[in-house]
Symmetry: C2
């Protein structure tokens, strides 16, 4: 059990927490198969395995009743027309929620259930998002200059199921285009 | 179950959420017996039952795995030398944590366990506080001008036990004085 209170700050503009127990860096090579434009992906990877997003985690007990926290930072960029995004995941324990608070940047949270419901929520500083139990979620940064920085908290027993999304993707993807940003059906989405 | 994601904003400077399911207003009369200086309390109450703090709640399912959220606003003021504060509470289910994010103002979170451990954490904008399971907690506003505004999230099954604190108080209290703000032992704290 995490048996004593503790505090830390999220100093802007970076939003990186003043206490970090674990730092996850996801580079382009870890996102293979996730982007629509595979040719653009391979071309970009050939020029260098740059960082797509980072997660700063505060460790705690992975049990029900406790809360785990962290900050995700999605860097600006695109693969083909598709904006930088996190891998996205379901919680292993499906009946667990998550709360996000956006500190900086602009983008979307792309969400879906196993049953086929979808939701795409625009994120901007000062916005709180409640990810209901059973909803997979992925952060997408649509700013050209700024990181998308979000604080999150979720139940200690939630766990992460990345495999389901790695196999089939999300039903909705976020693309850049001449007419602006669009939310479109993912033509490569695979039925489970 | 809260079965669909939802979002809202916490626009500053007020920090009042753009979506509110329940608004709690605690006035001086609801804090009887909580302040050290009972004479000052009665004198102040005679001049009017002013609001000490407010809570804006987002409703959700009160079950494990879900998260309940809200914003607390403690207005500046004192009763005698003691700063304005919330009633404070344990969670009914002791094995549940809570996360606070300070949006505005300055103050303290006063905390203690049933076993007698105490912790007092200074709060200021940008600070995150993890209230570990089993720790009662009370917010105290020490600014002369500004509200102390904090966003919070906790497990849906936590519940609120106000009665224990109403009966015995917190072991530590926050007082104003000529030499500044002090954290002192509560002479009126009662053994359970």
């Amino acid at each position: 059990m995490t048996d004593h209170p503790f505090a830390f700050t999220l100093p802007l503009p970076e939003g990186v927490p003043s206490r970090i127990d674990n730092h996850v860096k996801r580079t382009l090579s870890s996102m293979r198969g996730q982007y629509l434009d595979e040719k653009a992906y391979e071309q970009q990877l050939a020029t260098g395995d740059h960082t797509v997003y980072e997660v700063y985690e505060l460790k705690g007990s992975e049990v029900a009743g406790e809360l785990l926290m962290g900050v995700s930072v999605v860097h600006p960029g695109k693969v083909g027309k598709e904006f930088h995004m996190t891998k996205g995941h379901f919680h292993t324990v499906r009946e667990t929620a998550e709360v996000y608070y956006c500190l900086k940047g602009e983008g979307f949270m792309v969400m879906e259930t196993s049953e086929g419901q979808t939701a795409v929520e625009p994120m901007l500083p000062g916005k709180v998002l409640y990810v209901a139990p059973g909803w997979a979620h992925r952060s997408v940064c649509t700013s050209r200059q700024e990181d998308l920085v979000m604080f999150f908290a979720y139940p200690g027993n939630a766990g992460h199921d990345y495999a389901t999304i790695e196999k089939r993707g999300f039903r909705k993807i976020i693309l850049d285009g001449e007419d602006g940003i669009s939310i479109v059906d993912n033509p490569r989405w695979r039925t489970p």
